[in-house]
């Protein structure tokens, strides 16, 4: 058993929130050009957020089964880390409570959305993804019938990107989750956005689906900023999970070109 004080979790989350918002990953940078590159440069040099939408924090915890968190409540520590990170980093607080009525801002960008996986080992990995509303709003879930197969999957993913048009700040990264249940497919579609941009799936059949989707999406013509062009998506990442004999869930989660996430291992 290895002990990790929860205050260490809070400190780490606070740092990741700030870094993710002003320091774009190298893989994303390689795929962008012109104004967007200039924007990323200014953001990094001057510690200004890349985008004014600093997102809702989605925190993925991969916790080794031999870890014991000590000194307090783990989820409270993650929440405190988000609040500290958004205050210290001069980041925009974009979270409102009671979504269907008064929508009063929580003031500290908390609470985050937290996903926890238990893995072998005695380490804890923390991944902070800051997810903007414009791209998240273009998410889609289709519960296809098994007979619709690969063709149905391609049709629903391409349609989702086409209908999103210029809204999600293209060029986008397209996360696709296929299988499981409705909720599981949505989580797959989000998590797969964390994969290194453009790295194909290990399974050749899934990789070939990714390549087909990328080609068809880039044939739509939306282009960077939606002004017309051949690059509507930088990459399509697909993840799959076994599903029920009656089901073929297909979830799409779009990520704007400011694909911001950071991770740390404690």
């Amino acid at each position: 058993m290895r002990e990790i004080p929860v205050e260490k979790v809070a400190e780490t989350v606070a740092r990741l929130c700030q870094e993710a918002n002003s320091d774009l990953g190298e893989d994303v940078l390689a795929a962008l050009r012109s104004a967007l590159l200039e924007n990323a440069r200014i953001a990094r040099e001057e510690s200004v957020p890349i985008c004014q939408d600093c997102g809702i924090a989605v925190v993925f915890l991969e916790i080794g089964q031999d870890v014991h968190f000590v000194g307090g409540n783990l989820y409270e520590a993650v929440r405190a880390g988000v609040a500290d990170g958004y205050a210290l980093g001069y980041l925009r607080k974009s979270v409102v409570r009671q979504p269907f009525s008064a929508r009063v801002n929580t003031g500290d960008n908390a609470p985050p959305v937290i996903y926890t996986d238990i893995v072998p080992g005695d380490r804890a990995k923390i991944i902070v993804m800051v997810k903007g509303g414009g791209a998240e709003n273009m998410s889609r879930l289709a519960m296809l019938t098994p007979s619709q197969g690969r063709e149905g999957v391609v049709e629903s993913v391409v349609r989702a990107v086409d209908e999103a048009g210029s809204n999600p700040c293209p060029p986008v990264i397209v996360g696709v989750g296929i299988g499981g249940t409705a909720d599981a497919a949505m989580v797959l579609a989000k998590k797969v956005l964390l994969r290194k941009v453009g790295e194909p799936h290990a399974d050749p059949e899934v990789a070939s689906l990714e390549a087909e989707l990328l080609d068809k999406i880039n044939a739509i013509g939306i282009g960077p900023s939606g002004l017309g062009g051949r690059m509507t998506a930088l990459a399509v990442h697909v993840e799959v999970f076994p599903t029920h004999i009656a089901s073929l869930p297909v979830a799409v989660n779009l990520q704007c070109h400011a694909a911001r996430h950071r991770e740390a291992v404690l």
Partner: protein, 189 residues
């Protein structure tokens, strides 16, 4: 879609003659005053107008920028300040145009009713580059909250801008750069 030429320099508040002369695809640099408003501020503005209250600033000829900036670090004018998705403002827009608003800056396609209102009231819709909020903030020289301070990032700010970069999406003659751009690059069925 026009090929990119030298940007057209315009001032805001907008002059009717200038608005009518702009065409989808024109690159512009805006100098003057912009007012920020996004979801919550639009709701409050329009609720007030419907009750016959006067708006917190004179809407005539003004340009509304759909943005909720990040907080300014000490010594800075503003934080990151790029456009948000305009479509969420569509249900409020025709009434604001009827009350004299002439320009809008955001990102993303507008509804048919907004496009009709743009033609009817002779207004103009610009896009700024989404996700380039750090770069755009450099053209903002002054920022002050003039209404709805309780809304935080969603409060109405009066911005003074110089050479603010934007591109015309929807013009008074029905031009639509998103449609034209997509059609030009679409391949296959």
């Amino acid at each position: 879609m026009k090929e990119t030429g030298a940007p057209i320099r315009i001032t805001s508040p907008l002059d009717d003659r200038v608005v009518k002369s702009l065409r989808a695809g024109d690159q512009v640099r805006i100098t003057g005053v912009l007012y920020t408003a996004r979801d919550a501020a639009h709701k409050r503005l329009v609720d007030g107008l419907k009750k016959g209250e006067s708006p917190p600033f004179d809407l005539t000829g003004q340009t509304i920028y759909y943005v909720g900036p990040t907080p300014a670090r000490p010594g800075r004018v503003i934080g990151s300040a790029g456009p948000t998705t305009s479509g969420r403002m569509d249900s409020y827009t025709p009434l604001l145009l009827a009350h004299g608003v002439k320009g809008m800056i955001g990102k993303g396609q507008r509804s048919e009713s907004v496009k009709e209102a743009i033609g009817k009231y002779k207004a103009i819709y610009f896009a700024a580059v989404g996700g380039a909020g750090a770069l755009i903030s450099r053209s903002i020289k002054k920022s002050e909250v003039i209404a709805y301070a309780d809304l935080g990032a969603e409060a109405i700010h009066r911005l003074e801008v110089e050479e603010f970069p934007a591109i015309v999406i929807n013009d008074t003659e029905g031009g639509d750069l998103y449609e034209e751009g997509k059609a030009k690059y679409r391949r296959g069925g």
